[in-house]
Subunit: 176 residues, 2 copies
């Protein structure tokens, strides 16, 4: 809930309820009730809080860790198209205020590559172009074929392993 998010961010900033309310320009009674779970604030109030906390507003809506999502080559919601020989699949709609870096990767079979965990909140999106590979968070590795799309948290240890020569895939690195 939002109550928990506000409390979490406030304690993370090391600010007291009164101080935060003062900085945000809202009554501390309002903030108190918000953190208690009573009522649902207006965007104006939330905006003031987010500004005072110096965090993106969307952070106050953060739910639990996003689960991994695997979309096989023959899966995914195919978008409507006028021409039948054109099949577009929306893999991931990006939330605003995020950075997404796109990588193209060519990998050879051999030892397993263990990636150092990225900063907290990082999300990786993988799309295999050709070859075959095995990748994913530790314990949730998946066998991937061309066209497969796999997304998972990047702030946990994860591995890449090519099963065929010149295995090519795409990584979209999403940072909060």
């Amino acid at each position: 809930m939002i109550a928990a998010a506000i409390k979490r961010e406030r304690s993370r900033a090391g600010k007291s309820l009164s101080a935060l309310a003062a900085e945000a320009g809202i009554a501390k009674s309002t903030l108190s009730q918000l953190e208690a779970g009573n009522g649902n604030p207006s965007v104006e109030t939330l905006w003031a809080l987010a500004a005072a906390l110096d965090v993106p507003l969307s952070l106050l809506f953060e739910t639990e860790a996003p689960a991994t999502r695997l979309i096989r080559a023959d899966e995914g919601e195919v978008l409507a198209s006028e021409q039948s020989d054109f099949a577009a699949v929306l893999l991931s709609r990006s939330p605003p205020n995020v950075r997404r870096d796109v990588y193209r990767v060519v990998m050879q079979p051999g030892e397993i590559r263990r990636a150092q965990p990225h900063p907290r909140g990082t999300v990786e999106h993988m799309l295999v172009c050709s070859g075959q590979m095995r990748a994913g968070p530790e314990g949730q590795e998946e066998q991937l074929w061309p066209g497969d799309y796999y997304t998972y948290p990047g702030d946990h240890p994860h591995t890449y392993e090519a099963k065929q020569p010149d295995t090519m895939f795409l990584i979209v690195m999403e940072a909060p």
Copy 2:
């Protein structure tokens, strides 16, 4: 503003104001005033809207195209790596505050697909996974092979044409 965001997402979903209000379970008068810019909604209201629009809530907060750039499969700045059989190429470092939608496309040879121009400021990133194709803005079409990366403004007329069966490629649609 939020007013514009709601309007944008609603029109994108092709829903009328009355219909959306009904689906979201809010009064259409409320929605009308929101889109008019008057008032600041409560999170409960926004949540209902986001759910009805089937978009993440954070998308309701907020909203120049670079020249074309073509990176051949054997081109691109290869990032440093500890292991020689791992070659990652950064194709596009995303600027902040942009939306990027990722599409996977499979296309068959045949007639040329002419894309209706997207909203102003849209940028498309293409990466060919397999097959062969010809695509790009009108007059700047390029022959593309697997691994080729091509980016160009999406708010101008552009075309896609597969040269081989089951030509697969990736499109990252970047909206301002």
